[in-house]
Symmetry: C2
Subunit: 194 residues, 2 copies
């Protein structure tokens, strides 16, 4: 039973990967890339530190472009991030039977609602698994117990979130991505706790 | 990190127990009992077969009584089952910090909605975990891989569902519980798959 997990190297998607592996699934991790910057490198390192196979999910640059236009139109990232996440999940569903991501019960965005989940599962004949079972406190508690986690200023070499390539393209469009995404700290899984 | 899982011996609550254990929690299983019939016995056997500690959660008979009145009023069990489940989760929350049950994404009843979950967590300062991450297909796939499962005609000695004591009390009230709960088959976890 193979499961493909959408993976950023963060604690949520690492939690999902480990949970499914420990439930008996053969887990492969996928990080989306839109051809603008090799932002999957930190995720690949995290995957390796946990002993998982890691692959790059090659996505159309056009989707990133549309995402950036949505974000620049809105002045904030929510709708764009929701769109790029949904497109990535769709892509993963084209080639896998069980797909998963690290979205939590109390995430507001990016997140598929129950109708989007049913539609995705029906159209692609897949099973979709997220982290809706858990609130953020439980995930924090369990991941701090499972993982070594690094905390660094978020930049294009410490993060594999969608944000990295979105920033690159927004800046290339002549806008300033710092107006949209303020500087923040980034946590990344760097191995199992000893 | 102790977690108390509401446990019936079925595949869903067994899945929850094993998942939390494999994520590093110290899991204890609790089966509700309302003092009318020792319906926790099958659950205790299932718990033992998986190597978990099992306890009986002693509940007020009054709650069972109210449940039966709701069911007899409605002519079907949904609202009553929802009520008795919610009351049991509340009871568990009084004495534990992390509580969990085996309700799934596509269960309709018994199930706490997101507002009930938030209220429960805030009032008792607890973390609540269910199986909303998973659809029934994923749970079926994973549990068939994990567990030996028996399938028997449901009766008071093969099941630890709320239904057993509800039936006893409905019949004691002079109604016929078979009008409400038709005969059906009952699956129960009897050990790990070799």
């Amino acid at each position: 039973m193979k499961a493909a997990v959408l993976y950023s190297g963060g604690k949520d998607s690492s939690f999902q990967a480990v949970m499914l592996e420990r439930l008996g699934l053969d887990v492969e991790l996928y990080t989306a890339n839109f051809g603008v910057y090799d932002s999957y490198v930190p995720a690949k390192k995290s995957a390796k530190s946990l002993g998982f196979k890691h692959r790059v999910l090659e996505m159309d640059t056009e989707i990133l472009d549309k995402t950036c236009d949505m974000i620049l139109r809105d002045g904030f990232p929510n709708e764009g991030i929701k769109y790029i996440h949904a497109q990535t999940v769709e892509k993963l569903a084209e080639t896998h039977d069980i797909i998963a991501d690290g979205t939590r019960r109390d995430d507001r965005t990016p997140k598929l609602n129950i109708n989007q989940i049913k539609s995705l599962e029906d159209r692609h004949n897949v099973q979709y698994i997220n982290l809706d079972s858990f609130g953020h406190k439980s995930i924090k508690l369990i991941t701090e117990n499972l993982f070594e986690i690094s905390k660094e200023k978020s930049n294009r070499d410490t993060s594999s979130d969608f944000e990295v390539e979105i920033r690159e393209m927004i800046d290339a469009k002549g806008a300033n991505s710092l107006d949209i995404f303020p500087e923040h700290y980034q946590t990344r899984v760097i191995g199992y706790k000893k």
